[in-house]
Symmetry: C2
Subunit: 300 residues, 2 copies
């Protein structure tokens, strides 16, 4: 009897299939393996070399196609850009076993819920949507890390069709990875994430492209320091992934951007009229809020 | 004969006075000391406890007032918020010796040049304005670090009145701290810094305050991750310092913000009309530019 089989907590997943073995999917597999909560790991992906790398790194045991994954996995983790979800679920559906649990890690949840219900029909009961709030700057299987989810939040946005058992099973597995699991309505999740994740990415990318497009961008970039580095770091992320996120969460992102635009206009007006007191008050509110968040979040 | 006295490069500064012994001023003193380029370090500041701390940390040898600093220092480094420069120069002026070299580390340079000429008159020949491009998130003497300037850019914006000797002397001292020294016109410096430093701070603070002011800010901040952390890090900076920077560099900052506002509107319109190709192209340009900068800058 192996020690893995004796590990406390949720039952071990005999066969896990990860669709998209990059940072997020690969780290989930690695974390479950480290916790002794998984038997065999199958990897599905678009690029053969990525799968070979994932196998070499020990993240997966075997590369398979969606059909094989559907036929043999007890848990299927979809870790692909959200725009690909519909196509993948359609391909999985005909081969899916009734006892298989599905989940995802997409950064938007209302569209994933809609897609799952539309494509899977009654089978949506097997699909518990989720979103781990964890680093996305690095990409690819070589960035995978069994410790990525330790102390991090994972939001589940269960469908009405999900059984309590399915929800608890997934919660337990994420907790085995060291994560803290929260449950939210998909729409509420999307509004919050528009604010704290999607809008920062939007602004950082707008800003980065404006600097890069400037006639004197070379001298600008040569004098950019650590503030620039931090402010623009997220703009280096995958264009494909972020395009999908913005489109999937379009209305919440646009609505947050409208708020930002208004706040920006007010701050600009204070600067235009050289209103030092208003500028100071605004900067001080921002600084205090950021310092408080830094001390509470454990991230800074 | 001490090894410090034998160190190659610029002549050692017998008495250095640092006005404002925080991260930037304290690191300059520490770096010169580590390079064997300074004898005695005097510290001037508004807060007795900061000066006591600077002394305990070995950054300064003695706390003095501006008058004493002017009377005995060979080099006076002004490391205070740019808004305080006029007052400090006025207080120094009556006691300044003709052979004393002055410099500053302010983030804006056209206003510093104007202030120095207006206050010092002919004495402005002794003042060589400068700006080290180095981290400003941490503050206070305990953040000072002799290695802060190693490999970093320092921009000097000499006045027409400065002697070549004064410029070379200051260049040599910054090089002793490990920095690379560039020379620019003050106005050109301010336009570039508006773009790569002041505007990011403005945007990060507008954004941070908008999130903090939201009705549901608690849940927002509890789901904020590493992207949020990086994007907002600069917003924690000193409100006083940044108010002064924005006011001092008002027209360049407003002009850059107008450009950003236009780029933002275009990106928003692409999202509104669900134009995935435009969104992708824009995000990809931003991502490639950021990755290129990261690999070239040595900062990321």
């Amino acid at each position: 009897m192996s020690s893995a089989a004796e590990a406390p907590g949720p039952a071990r997943v005999e066969v896990l299939a990860v669709v998209g073995v990059g940072l997020i999917g690969g780290s989930f597999a690695a974390a479950l393996r480290a916790a002794g909560k998984v038997g065999r790991v199958l990897g599905v992906g678009r690029h053969a070399h990525t799968l070979r790398q994932a196998r070499r790194l020990g993240l997966i045991d075997e590369a398979v196609d969606l059909r094989q994954a559907a036929a043999s996995a007890d848990l299927i983790m979809l870790a692909t850009p959200v725009g690909a979800m519909g196509r993948i679920l359609s391909e999985l559906k005909p081969h899916l076993r009734a006892e298989t649990l599905l989940t995802d890690v997409g950064s938007t949840k209302a569209d994933v819920a809609r897609t799952a219900c539309a494509v899977l029909g009654e089978g949506a009961a097997q699909f518990v949507p989720g979103h781990p709030i964890a680093g996305a700057e690095r990409t690819g299987p070589e960035a995978a890390d069994a410790a990525l989810y330790r102390g991090r939040n994972v939001v589940l946005t269960p469908l009405a069709e999900n059984s309590l058992d399915a929800r608890l099973r997934l919660t337990g597995l994420w907790e085995s990875c060291g994560a803290r699991v929260l449950t939210m309505e998909p729409e509420a999740h999307d509004v919050v994430l528009a604010s704290v994740s999607h809008v920062p990415h939007f602004l950082a990318s707008v800003y980065m492209e404006q600097v890069a497009a400037a006639r004197d961008s070379d001298v600008r970039m040569s004098l950019a320091g650590t503030g620039f580095r931090d402010f623009t770091r997220i703009a280096a992320g995958s264009a494909e992934m972020w395009r999908d996120i913005f489109l999937a969460n379009r209305s919440a992102v646009l609505s947050e951007l409208a708020e930002i635009r208004q706040a920006l206009a007010q701050a600009e007006q204070a600067l235009e009229r050289e209103d030092g007191q208003s500028l100071y008050d605004w900067l001080e509110r921002a600084a205090l809020a950021r310092r408080l968040w830094g001390s509470r979040s454990g991230l800074s």
